[in-house]
């Protein structure tokens, strides 16, 4: 979480420089589910995510330099500059991509689960979704088929209460919970406090073991909160779509602070945390420096790769 937070705060700080020229959806404040899932999954598992995918990519061990370079539109980016913030990929750790259409990557996760089933391995395909992605027909069709075919599919649903600036009320029936509905569709479900990293670990961990042992598809709903604006680096409580009190009550439950409090503040922990923070800061600085230094893709790269060739790509 510290790592993810540091990366995203660095992005937020530098966004106004107008060098990262793409829409940017930060997970600051809601890192716990990503961090927990990152630890519960293995590099042989698959994961896909959404427009808000930095945290998932980083938590799964996606290459930091390649991500920052991607934000800067550089050829060293994980998508060679073709994708930007919403298209992160690092297949070396099974992180197969994030996409920018709500609901779009869900069926892709279904296909990865089908591939795992065919492979006969005990891997898991994890699909990160928001609370609004659950409203798409794509979510439902995927959940239905995964349940029918008992595919090793895990939904990690980060319910941050909003879809852009729209709260739940106009979007989902009052009093209905996502995980209960998902259970009725046929998924095994859990829910938990998305600002409590340990709880996230527990419930995601249980879901992952259930899937690995052939228990079929699961959904874990974790309630949490995004601190910054939906898209962009700033705070947006001035817009009036949510109250400052609401924001503050969540900020007071900062998932990093919650966990640190639990770790206690003996010297040993403090020293270790400080050292980790320093190490992270260095990695982040390095990644930004490298991204800024890196070359842009040659303009001609806009016009290549319409098709893969028969030889397979070897980049």
């Amino acid at each position: 979480m510290i790592y993810i937070r540091a990366v995203e705060e660095a992005i937020a700080e530098r966004y106004a420089e107008q060098e990262m020229r793409c829409p940017m959806h930060l997970s600051i404040g809601q890192e716990a589910p990503a961090a927990a899932a990152g630890l519960c999954l293995r590099d042989t598992d698959y994961a896909v995510s959404t427009h808000r995918g930095h945290a998932h990519y980083l938590a799964r061990g996606g290459d930091l330099k390649a991500m920052i370079a991607e934000l800067y539109g550089k050829v060293t980016g994980c998508a060679r500059g073709r994708g930007g913030s919403m298209h992160l990929v690092d297949s070396s750790v099974g992180f197969m991509g994030t996409t920018a259409i709500v609901g779009n990557s869900i069926p892709v996760g279904l296909g990865l689960a089908k591939a795992i089933q065919l492979d006969g391995s005990d891997a898991v395909a994890c699909v990160f979704v928001g609370d609004a992605a659950v409203e798409t027909g794509s979510f439902y069709e995927t959940a239905n088929f995964a349940a029918t075919a008992r595919l090793p599919l895990l939904f990690v649903c980060e319910n941050n209460l909003y879809s852009v600036y729209t709260p739940m009320a106009p979007r989902q029936p009052a009093g209905r919970s996502i995980h209960e509905m998902a259970a009725a569709i046929g998924l095994r479900t859990w829910h938990g406090d998305g600002n409590d990293a340990e709880e996230c670990m527990d419930v995601i961990g249980e879901a992952v073991s259930s899937i690995r042992s052939g228990g079929g598809p699961c959904l874990v709903e974790l309630t949490t909160y995004r601190w910054r604006e939906h898209c962009g680096p700033n705070y947006d409580n001035d817009l009036g779509y949510r109250t400052v009190q609401e924001f503050e009550s969540w900020r007071d439950r900062d998932p990093i602070a919650v966990l640190e409090r639990r770790l206690g503040d003996d010297t040993m922990t403090r020293t270790q945390l400080a050292a980790y923070r320093a190490w992270v800061a260095e990695r982040v600085a390095e990644a930004f420096a490298a991204a800024k230094d890196a070359p842009f893709p040659p303009p001609g790269e806009a016009y290549t790769d319409e098709y893969a060739d028969h030889l397979g790509q070897t980049r």
Binding site: G84, H87, A132, A133, E135, P299
Partner: protein, 349 residues
């Protein structure tokens, strides 16, 4: 007449329509949020109530069908997508329901509805936030497809679309939202199916829509200064197409450049070239030319989009080549970044 932006003109049209007819509805993702679809839906909910103006879940397919059903029930829904790309999940309802209902049930039930779709560009919108699929819609009988290029037309065409008894796909280019122009007050209408000759000329006919009309005007001015006279036709609607106006122009000029904000293959520009060739073959003095996006998905990096989108420079060059003339384009080249619509834009969306 009032000076206002294209976006404000859209907002004005919505207010006029909803005040004029209680059957007009407005909905879409974010329509009542503080950003109000780039301001275009501002004040609607306050003025017309939450029954007629409402936000929705990310369920574009069902809600598009809802528009069809509401139209059958006598309402005139105006749905909006912040990016055209989001409408891809709703093609079944657009094509199999909205476009066909009137015809396939024997010509008895008009489907009066509008789907506004905003076409993105630049600032890393990338492959799935900048598609302009008007060629798809133009291919489908039963739809009307509108692409305004000025604030005046934005208002007049939107009002006409809302009160047209057919399903209208209304494409707004994001880069036009902040452009300024004079806009008539009140219930200002611009008829569908009529193109506009926005610049008269004798040597070459430039046919475009949306943002390309602005580029064509710019190119036309430069070319005029070098003795080449362009007629610029803004199609306004790409289904139906106003062939009479195009034909008359090409009959006069004998030369055609078709401009598009989309990829070329099976595009509206292809249709223009094909339709003109079929109709005016004997009048053509030179091979018609298309200026479209490259036939690739749109990349994200500013380094990749810098040369991706055709502009006035490309038009000048194409026309000059067609006329076997030399026209410098220096005055058109500016050093502003090519991935933002103007200085007002600071990201992120």
């Amino acid at each position: 007449m009032t000076q206002m932006t294209f976006g404000a003109a859209i907002n004005d049209a919505m207010h006029v329509a909803m005040a004029a007819d209680p059957k007009v509805l407005a909905f879409g993702l974010g329509i009542c949020d503080p950003k109000a679809i780039f301001g275009t839906t501002a004040g609607l909910k306050e003025a017309f109530g939450k029954e007629r103006v409402f936000d929705m879940p990310v369920s574009e397919n069902a809600l598009t069908g809802m528009a069809v059903g509401a139209a059958i029930g006598g309402y005139k829904p105006v749905m909006v997508h912040q990016r055209l790309d989001f409408s891809l999940v709703s093609m079944d309802q657009i094509v199999n329901s909205a476009a066909k209902w009137f015809y396939m049930f024997g010509g008895r039930t008009p489907i009066s509805m509008v789907i506004r779709m905003i076409v993105g560009r630049g600032w890393g919108q990338g492959p799935t936030h900048s598609q302009a699929l008007h060629a798809w819609f133009a291919h489908v009988p039963g739809l009307k497809v509108v692409l305004p290029s000025s604030p005046d037309d934005a208002k007049g065409l939107l009002l006409e679309s809302i009160f047209d008894p057919n399903p209208v796909i209304f494409l707004e280019h994001r880069w036009l939202h902040n452009t300024l122009g004079e806009v008539p007050e009140g219930d200002h209408r611009v008829p569908l199916g009529k193109a506009a000759t926005v610049m008269e000329g004798a040597d070459v006919t430039l046919v475009g829509t949306s943002l390309m009309t602005a580029e064509a005007r710019q190119a036309g001015r430069v070319l005029a200064a070098h003795g080449i006279s362009c007629e610029v036709i803004d199609l306004r609607t790409v289904r139906p197409i106003d062939w009479a106006q195009i034909e008359a122009s090409v009959a006069k000029t004998g030369r055609l450049v078709a401009l598009d904000i989309a990829q070329p293959t099976a595009s509206v520009a292809a249709e223009i070239v094909a339709g003109v060739t079929e109709r005016c073959f004997s009048r053509l003095k030179a091979a018609p030319v298309r200026i479209c996006l490259p036939d690739h998905a749109v990349p994200t990096s500013q380094a990749l989009t810098a040369g991706f989108y055709p502009s006035a420079v490309d038009i000048v060059n194409a026309v000059a080549a067609m006329m076997a003339a030399k026209v410098p384009t220096d005055e058109l080249v500016d050093d502003r970044p090519r991935d933002v619509p103007g200085d007002w834009f600071r990201g992120p969306f």
